[in-house]
């Protein structure tokens, strides 16, 4: 497998051009697993909740006003600002009750999970996936919500949008810049004329680590959370081809390696056909560790004989990497393209 030299190029140009060519490369038999959730309409209801850490009461109002200004109604979960254990918005059963209430509510078309930090995992066994199948809806989350995205895909066969930056921050940035989050644009369009990466005008580094083409379901999220699902019903699927997206923040290199070991040893890579690496950041208290972290990734992925694309973004640009997990994608690491198919 040949390895290209690393390049730094404006991502927007290449991914947007890929986007434009999307329609022409699409073949009829590939549309089976297309995006099935409808675009949201004016007047639809967005349900905001916290499955883990709570939010400040002061954060609620601007978020509500923002969604209203975009033409949507907003409903809030009952447990948002609690301080249970390490800052959870409520006890497990309380957070679960909020989530299931929204899932069972036919009117709610989008669930936006505002939580940061650990806390979604204990909810998984109690989620009403039957109701989610009955009333399929969009789910927007980030970070620790990796486990929810996997669960939604595996138990309800539903795709969902994983934001690679804090959801409240995305909304705040949109308010301040008079724009709106990339994922909201996607919800409005629900269109295949998008790349899985919601590229805006930013430039960031895309590196072809291993050249090649592959297709499969786009699955992924934080490495630590994917590893945390090993051995459970919510693990990375092994019965279909997968394009695996990986990212991690605030973890030391050895921990990321330990998680990758667990993923390999638990068989999570058995049907992985291609890999997309997002942002990896080790904790700031040991600057040298970041170098080890990249070395770990290179050691693991350069020799796998799978196409590997690495997208190293800066903190600010990171929400541009939000993506629809659970959809069929095609990866072409030579052309630095990831397309829905």
């Amino acid at each position: 497998m040949k390895r290209r030299d690393f390049l730094t190029i404006p991502a927007a140009s290449c991914l947007f051009s890929a986007m434009n060519s999307c329609q022409t490369t699409m073949k009829p038999e590939q549309t089976v697993h297309s995006i099935s959730l409808p675009a949201i309409q004016n007047g639809d209801t967005i349900g905001c909740l916290c499955t883990a850490g709570g939010i400040e009461p002061a954060q609620q109002e601007p978020i509500e006003r923002f969604f209203q200004s975009q033409g949507y109604r907003v409903r809030w979960g009952a447990y948002l600002g609690g301080d249970f254990l390490y800052g959870l918005s409520g006890a497990t059963q309380e957070r679960l009750a909020d989530l299931n209430a929204f899932i069972r509510d036919e009117e709610i078309k989008v669930i936006v999970d505002l939580s940061d930090g650990y806390g979604a995992l204990p909810l998984l066994v109690g989620i009403d996936f039957d109701a989610l199948r009955t009333y399929p809806k969009w789910f927007i989350g980030y970070s620790d919500r990796t486990v929810l995205h996997l669960a939604i895909y595996k138990k309800a066969e539903l795709h969902s949008i994983m934001v690679t930056d804090s959801v409240p921050d995305c909304i705040n940035n949109s308010i301040n810049n008079e724009g709106f989050p990339a994922w909201l644009r996607f919800l409005r369009l629900s269109s295949m004329n998008e790349t899985p990466f919601f590229v805006r005008q930013h430039k960031f580094t895309i590196e072809t680590w291993v050249s090649g083409q592959a297709r499969g379901k786009l699955i992924g999220g934080r490495v630590s959370r994917l590893a945390g699902l090993a051995g459970t019903d919510f693990a990375v699927p092994t019965e279909e081809d997968v394009i695996l997206f990986l990212e991690e923040s605030d973890e030391y290199a050895y921990r990321v390696d330990r998680c990758l070991t667990q993923l390999f040893e638990s068989g999570a890579f058995s049907r992985v056909r291609g890999i997309v690496l997002g942002r990896f950041r080790s904790p700031e208290d040991e600057p040298d560790d970041q170098i080890d972290l990249i070395d770990v990734l290179r050691e693991r992925f350069l020799s796998l004989n799978l196409p590997v694309l690495s997208l190293q973004t800066t903190e600010k640009e990171n929400d541009t990497l939000s993506m629809v997990l659970g959809t069929m994608v095609e990866l072409n690491s030579d052309e630095k393209i990831l397309n829905y198919i």
């Binding site: 254990l85 390490y86 090993a230 051995g231 019903d233 290199a253 390696d257 667990q262 080890d292």
Partner: protein, 311 residues
């Protein structure tokens, strides 16, 4: 898996091996550790890899560490393997270890922290009892630690499973979190490593009744919560009949993090299990580190704050 209690106590003149299956001991010299064993009358072999150092401070490549450990497993002369240090690296090599050779030539294995993964893998693959004990770089921290360790090495498994600690300002003795009595195979170790084995061929076994012992060091309480739920979701608690919690040292210099918060997280989780739980036992990443016989059958009496090894 049938229990195998035929580990022979160490005798003066026996061969012992110093191993580094995870982190390198470099730049520390290995000789002082060898001397410590020699003064006890043992002959010592040292793994070729122990001072090598590669990415992530591993004591050599995976092949280096695999070869060194397998050489010890296959050597019928070697009666005990002492791990020098923990760190990280054992989970990378578990698949390549010669468990058949170890089974054919049973021997004592000592260590903790990252070595937890080795204890569990050996138990799953061979049913052998191993010793969750200080690594060589943390022995001799206190008289208590050494006393428990040597007693175990010299075969006094049943005599006094948990000698009383001398009264200490920092330690108030074991706490009954949930009353009750349970029996099972004593398995466990470092929570992070047990969680890292979930879903792999070396995960905690669920084919036998288990008394699970846990400890961890410097982890966020939220992460401890995640790992406990991860194990539960992976089914690891299916046959756990009782819990023995050692020392969970909290992550310092982090917002919110206190020993009390960590304790509340553990208690909240344990309450849901409805099994006997004995907490605050003297083992873990602390100076007084009680040696435990991993894989031995035990009877836990949480109410009486004690446990005993069963024949």
């Amino acid at each position: 898996m049938t229990q195998r209690f035929h580990i022979q106590p160490l005798q003066p003149g026996d061969w012992a091996a110093l191993a580094a299956p995870a982190k390198s001991i470099s730049p520390a010299p290995v000789e002082p550790y060898a001397d410590l064993l020699r003064t006890k009358g043992y002959r010592v072999k040292i793994g070729e890899n122990v001072s090598k150092k590669v990415l992530l401070d591993l004591a050599g490549t995976d092949a280096d560490r695999i070869d060194a450990l397998n050489m010890f497993f296959r050597d019928p002369e070697i009666r005990a393997i002492f791990c020098l240090t923990g760190g990280y690296g054992v989970t990378r090599i578990l698949r390549h270890l010669d468990y058949a050779a170890l089974s054919a030539h049973p021997k004592i294995i000592c260590g903790y922290s990252d070595i937890t993964a080795l204890h569990v893998a050996v138990s799953v693959k061979t049913g052998l009892i191993t010793f969750h004990s200080p690594n060589m770089d943390s022995v001799s921290r206190t008289a208590y630690t050494d006393r428990c360790w040597w007693a175990m090495l010299e075969g006094q498994l049943h005599r006094e499973p948990m000698p009383p600690l001398p009264p200490d300002d920092d330690y108030n003795g074991p706490e009954t979190w949930t009353d009750g009595v349970a029996e099972g195979v004593l398995l466990g170790g470092n929570l992070s490593l047990l969680a890292a084995l979930a879903g792999t061929p070396f995960a905690l076994p669920i084919d036998r009744d288990v008394i699970l012992f846990l400890e961890d060091v410097g982890e966020l309480s939220s992460r401890v919560d995640f790992m406990l739920h991860q194990l539960r979701l992976a089914g690891a608690f299916e046959r756990v009949r009782g819990m023995m919690l050692g020392q969970f040292t909290y992550r310092k210099n982090q917002r919110r993090e206190t020993p009390e918060l960590l304790s509340r997280v553990l208690q909240t989780f344990c309450q849901e299990l409805n099994i006997p739980v004995l907490a605050n036992l003297p083992f873990g990443h602390v100076r007084n580190n009680l040696t435990l016989a991993h894989g031995a059958r035990v009877r836990l009496d949480a109410g009486r704050k004690q446990f005993s090894y069963l024949a």
